[in-house]
């Protein structure tokens, strides 16, 4: 038996990108394996929430015989709101829980909280992208006009929303860990955002004052941008891509600073 020597590659790869990617890959593979083994259904069950949201809204719209605010398909209109909204909410909340349960790694010197957050974010993002593609493919299969007119807008919107969600996750993960009450406040707040993000209405149809206040919500810009990719003529008059990008950069920067500054307190 050739014993590993204490002086092998570990010091060489200790601080580089190779170590980080090795850790993140390890965490992702571990996460997906364990979740599937505990319950394969559980893994997919989280996706039941947006699906249920979709059907509830669809039925309500149908019952009150309301036409979609834009386009000819109620299904596609609702899906283009719910999918990006859920992407944001799910991603940020899963990062929060990664940070909250990160204490399990407090005796593993190599693993940082940022590694945990990145690993979780990448895994959830991939799951959500597959989910999103499946939703629109299914709608298209049933003859709905669910093919994006401008795929680049869709991809950009999804990426920038995902980055913003990552930043939000980091900031709120640290805050929930430090202040217990904050978790409750955030969960109430994030659910309420469904009504202020233009998920089931077109912002351009609202009175100017409402539009003015709602336009501070970065989520709304993401959803408008996403919709623009699906409907070429969508009236995304309030869409400000730079504003959303500023949120993305700002939250990620602040999030990384906070998580690094609080690393030792998070470990306790």
């Amino acid at each position: 038996m050739a014993p590993l020597t204490a002086k092998s590659s570990i010091s060489a790869g200790s601080s580089g990108l190779r170590l980080r990617s090795s850790i993140i890959l390890g965490l992702m593979l571990h996460d997906i394996k364990v979740r599937f083994r505990i319950s394969a259904m559980g893994y997919f069950l989280v996706l039941a929430e947006p699906v249920a949201q979709f059907f509830v809204m669809f039925l309500i719209f149908h019952a009150i015989q309301r036409q979609p605010d834009f386009g000819i398909s109620l299904g596609v209109f609702l899906a283009t709101g719910i999918v990006p909204f859920f992407l944001f909410m799910h991603l940020s909340s899963r990062i929060i829980s990664a940070i909250r349960s990160g204490r399990a790694f407090n005796k593993v010197q190599t693993v940082s909280f940022l590694d945990l957050a990145v690993a979780r974010a990448v895994l959830e993002f991939l799951t959500l992208v597959i989910f999103g593609v499946a939703v629109f493919a299914l709608l298209a299969f049933f003859g709905e006009p669910a093919i994006p007119q401008n795929l680049l807008d869709v991809i950009n919107a999804v990426l920038i929303m995902a980055i913003t969600a990552f930043g939000f996750g980091l900031i709120n993960g640290v805050l929930t860990k430090l202040f217990k009450v904050y978790a409750l406040i955030y969960s109430l707040f994030s659910r309420g955002m469904l009504f202020f993000s233009g998920v089931f209405y077109v912002v351009a149809n609202l009175p100017p004052l409402a539009r003015h206040y709602l336009s501070y919500n970065p989520l709304l810009h993401g959803i408008e941008w996403f919709r623009l990719g699906f409907f070429e003529t969508y009236p995304a008059i309030d869409l400000d891509r730079g504003y959303l990008a500023a949120w993305a950069i700002g939250t990620v920067t602040l999030g990384i600073v906070m998580i690094k500054a609080c690393e030792s307190r998070l470990k306790e």
Partner: protein, 237 residues
């Protein structure tokens, strides 16, 4: 220097637990700390690993510290022995194949290496745990009470591996066992009245500790507490 404490103080429940601890550990040197039950041994180890922040003072670490020997916090019962070894290797930036091959051979788990941990008995578990602990290279191996273990057949082999690592790296460990002090420590210290007192020789530290020889090494370490698995399943917004 591999590990340095500078005027480190830690209180617990409003009372001082460890006060004004300062030392400097050179590479390749093994420091053994004797302490009675409740004297702050685990807190000291947690501070070494950065899992607990001191109230005041500074801790410097240069080089890689191991997980506490015998208690790999990342073990997961839903994974096989092999998958656990691979996971651990990745967390330390090592080649999973090399680590798996080493653990497979050293632990002599045979086909059980490819079975889930939930099907292991205590003896198999301890084989995996110790093989894994010493499979990961470190500049300083950290241990809280347990340096080697396992069933009768495995114990000697495990001790030999620990001694080999002892020649390759530094050790920092706490214990209640004078025997482990004699086996592993170059430098002896005792936690006395909340202070870490260093003695010129290990024998003097043992004499100052003055407690009857008791075998503090548990035969079969337990698995770490289960991960909050539900947290992985349910979104919490």
């Amino acid at each position: 220097m591999i590990l340095g404490f500078s005027h480190v103080t830690k209180t617990a429940h409003g009372r001082p637990l460890l006060a004004d601890i300062s030392f400097c550990q050179p590479p390749q040197v093994s420091i053994g700390v004797l302490g009675a039950r409740g004297s702050g041994k685990s807190t000291l180890i947690n501070m070494v690993l950065g899992a607990t922040t001191p109230d005041s003072g500074q801790i410097h670490r240069h080089g890689r510290l191991s997980m506490p020997i015998g208690f790999p916090a990342t073990l997961n019962r839903y994974l096989t022995g092999e998958e656990n070894a691979r996971y651990m290797a990745r967390l330390y930036g090592l080649d999973p194949k090399t680590v798996c091959a080493f653990v497979d051979e050293f632990s002599e788990l045979g086909p059980m290496f490819r079975r889930r941990l939930s099907s292991y008995n205590a003896s198999l578990r301890s084989r995996l745990v110790f093989a894994l602990s010493y499979a990961i290279p470190a500049d300083c191996y950290v241990a809280d009470g347990t340096l080697f273990g396992g069933d009768a057949n495995f114990r000697d082999k495990c001790l030999a591996l620990a001694k080999l690592r002892r020649q390759q790296a530094a050790f920092f460990f706490t214990t209640r066992s004078p025997r482990d002090m004699r086996l592993f420590a170059d430098v002896g210290a005792v936690i006395q009245n909340n202070r870490l007192v260093f003695y010129p020789t290990v024998a003097e530290a043992i004499a100052a500790f003055g407690q009857p020889e008791d075998d503090a090494t548990p035969l079969l370490p337990d698995l770490p507490p289960e991960e909050p698995d539900l947290d992985n399943l349910l979104p919490d917004y």
